[in-house]
Amino acid sequence: MKKFYTVFAVLAIAALALSACGGASADVSEDNCADEAVLCVGLVTDVGEVDDKSFNQSAWEGVQQAADELGAFVKYVETKDAKDYAANIQLFAEKDYDVIVTVGFALGEATVGESANYPGINFIGVDQWQGEELANVAGLLFPEDKAGFLAGALAAQMSETGTIAAVLGTDLVPPVVAFKEGYEAGALYINPDINLISTYHPGGMDVAFVDPEWGATTAKQALDQGADVVFGAGGKTGNGALIEVASHEGAFCIGVDSDQWETVPEAHPCLITSAMKLITPGVFELISASAAGEFPGGNYFGTTGLASFHDFDSSVPQEVKDKLAEIDAGLLDGSISTGY
């Protein structure tokens, strides 16, 4: 599992990238993007910031890794208006960038549209499912069920009451369903008699991920019903569940998507790990593949995994860690199926 870069390392790389912008290195500059020897990578965020501690930031860290390890010139544009997706992609395309990363499902249409206008540029679409395989578009997707499976296997092993819970965003979003199904399958894999309390948010897309109060209430109900491990998967709704569990002595919680130890400090008293989508290495792998002339068009599956145990490292018995490593290997070689 890849260790996270510290914020300082990120800042250092950013400073390097900026100094490259100022012309410190004559060869690697935006003016030379058309030159085959110069690798230029641009990133377009979804409406939001590049330091959002979530998707946009993880993807940008992957791009920065390319600056660091492949000597690429890198730059990002934050989208202000959702109608500007295509225009923002064009800003990079017109400067002959080699790779353009677009972050989030919502940019999928604009990405595919522009890929036809610029066949010489490779596009990486984070979380963008490709219905039709295009040579210059790779949709970076994640097998969330596998991350969920590991989380469920950990939860079942750490639970003393034999009851575990999941507080979930809406089932309208397939990745959330994948996390949930994987979580339950993983728990049942360890303990076929385990008692599972999984609850989806009943509201629509507009509220399902931004309802921490519901997340907290639902987590509390699950704890009252005897659950002692709660998986919170659903943006701020899930975070609400994590923070609620943190106030209950002896209960564990599990975060989602990125290492939530970094993003939800209030959950430190219970946050044993997070079921992560490894966006940063996924983006970097695809940029490397593009640089090597082996860009894989179509859907590309990145890896998932559990975050570090942080302060709970000593609380997790060695045999549990061994079991997780064994399951991880089994999921990878296909000997264990999540059933999703």
């Binding site: 912008c21 544009v77 989208t79 959702a82 500007d84 923002n88 919502a106 499912w129 897309m205 507009d206």
Partner: protein, 371 residues
């Protein structure tokens, strides 16, 4: 009155005419310049080169034909929301609900754009536009009627109705009207049919010309028809209007209906000409920007056009400014907010310009309990 000054220009000496126009545009112009100067100071403080940044802003908004087309495309819905807010101002009403009326217009025209099949393009576009405009008009009628018959402040009701509109459109875009084509996971309607699309002539969106035509119609209605006279009289003094036999309640409702109609067309044109479907989050702020534009344009239809182009240019050039000069994308919002601030707090500028009066039309708003 600036428009009379304009139309009677032939009878006056040219210098008088210039004087009166200057009298009207001095404050908005000074507000814009002052906002840009303060914006430049902020850019310097944030470590960017303001000349480079503003050059990038201009390049991204007027630098190429494509950029210019994007500016006009961004300005188009703003002209409509600006007209909607300005027209309501004329009747003494503060329509903060342009956003909600615009959202409903955008959604309804999207529905008409993909549900109705087999129409020739011209007819389909007209029908979808009208459907959106009528949706906005009906939604505008609600606060109008509440104001006319109960005296409920339209400021409060339109703010609340914005939330109603947001929730209705979110629900429909994620429920009955959701795009269920393969792989889609977000709330949005299917794409409208090609026959419902408003085209562009080269890079210039046709919707912009429509906005100009509608501005002229609004100007004509306000100053050359009885209805317009009634609207303005009700705005200046509802009691005097009532005393002279005008139908105040009817005029208030009619004004809100027309205002909603205008905002609705704005949303429709955005759907049919730019977005191509309804998707929550794609029309954010267009109605609220109408307030800035109405005030910047001194609530005059012909003032609104340049004001909308200015704000549209800032929106169109924001990404290029970010790309070329490494400026945070929020800077254009800050500049826009400063413009609004200086236009509304015009005391500051009047002191600087040493003019007693701001010129142009005064905005008189009615309060609670006035029917």
């Amino acid at each position: 009155m600036d428009n009379q000054a304009k139309t009677e220009a032939g009878n006056q000496s040219l210098s008088d005419w210039f004087k009166s126009v200057w009298h009207v545009i001095a404050i908005p112009l000074a507000a814009v310049l002052l906002a840009l100067v303060i914006g430049a100071i902020l850019l310097i403080v944030s470590g960017a080169n303001p000349i480079e940044a503003y050059a990038a802003l201009i390049e991204g908004s007027f630098g190429t034909m494509k950029a210019f087309g994007r500016t006009l495309a961004k300005a188009t819905p703003l002209i409509f929301s600006g007209l909607a807010v300005a027209l309501a101002f004329k009747a003494g009403l503060f329509n903060i609900g342009a956003q909600g009326q615009l959202l409903l217009g955008a959604l309804v025209s999207a529905a008409a754009g993909f549900l109705i099949k087999g129409l020739p393009p011209f007819l389909h576009v007209t029908l979808a536009l009208l459907a959106g405009a009528i949706a906005g008009a009906l939604f505008g009628a609600i606060p109008g009627a509440l104001k006319a018959y109960t005296g409920a402040s339209e400021v409060i009701t339109t703010i609340m109705l914005n939330y109603v509109a947001i929730n209705i459109t979110d629900y429909l875009a994620d429920g009955p009207l959701k795009d269920i084509s393969g792989g889609n996971i977000v709330a949005r309607t299917p794409a409208i049919l090609d026959s419902a699309r408003i085209p562009s002539i080269g890079e210039i969106p046709v919707g912009f010309f429509l906005a100009i035509i509608v501005s002229i119609i609004v100007w004509f209605t306000l100053w050359r028809t009885t209805t317009g006279f009634e609207i303005r009289t009700v705005g200046l003094s509802p009691h005097a209007a009532k005393y002279s036999g005008m139908r105040v309640a009817f005029t208030v409702i009619l004004t809100m209906v027309i205002s909603g109609f205008l905002a609705g067309i704005g949303g429709s044109i955005e759907t049919l000409g730019i977005v191509g479907r309804y998707q929550p989050g794609f029309n954010t702020g267009l109605g609220f920007d109408g307030i800035t534009i109405a005030l910047l344009g001194k609530t005059h239809p012909f003032g609104i056009i340049p004001a909308a182009i200015l704000i549209g240019a800032m929106k169109a050039g924001a990404s290029t400014m970010q790309f070329n000069a490494g400026v945070a994308k929020e800077i254009t919002d800050v500049i826009q907010a400063l413009m609004l601030f200086f236009v509304t707090a015009d005391m500051i500028i009047r002191k600087m310009l040493r003019t007693k009066d701001g010129g142009g039309e005064k905005i008189t708003l009615s309060g609670w309990g006035q029917k």
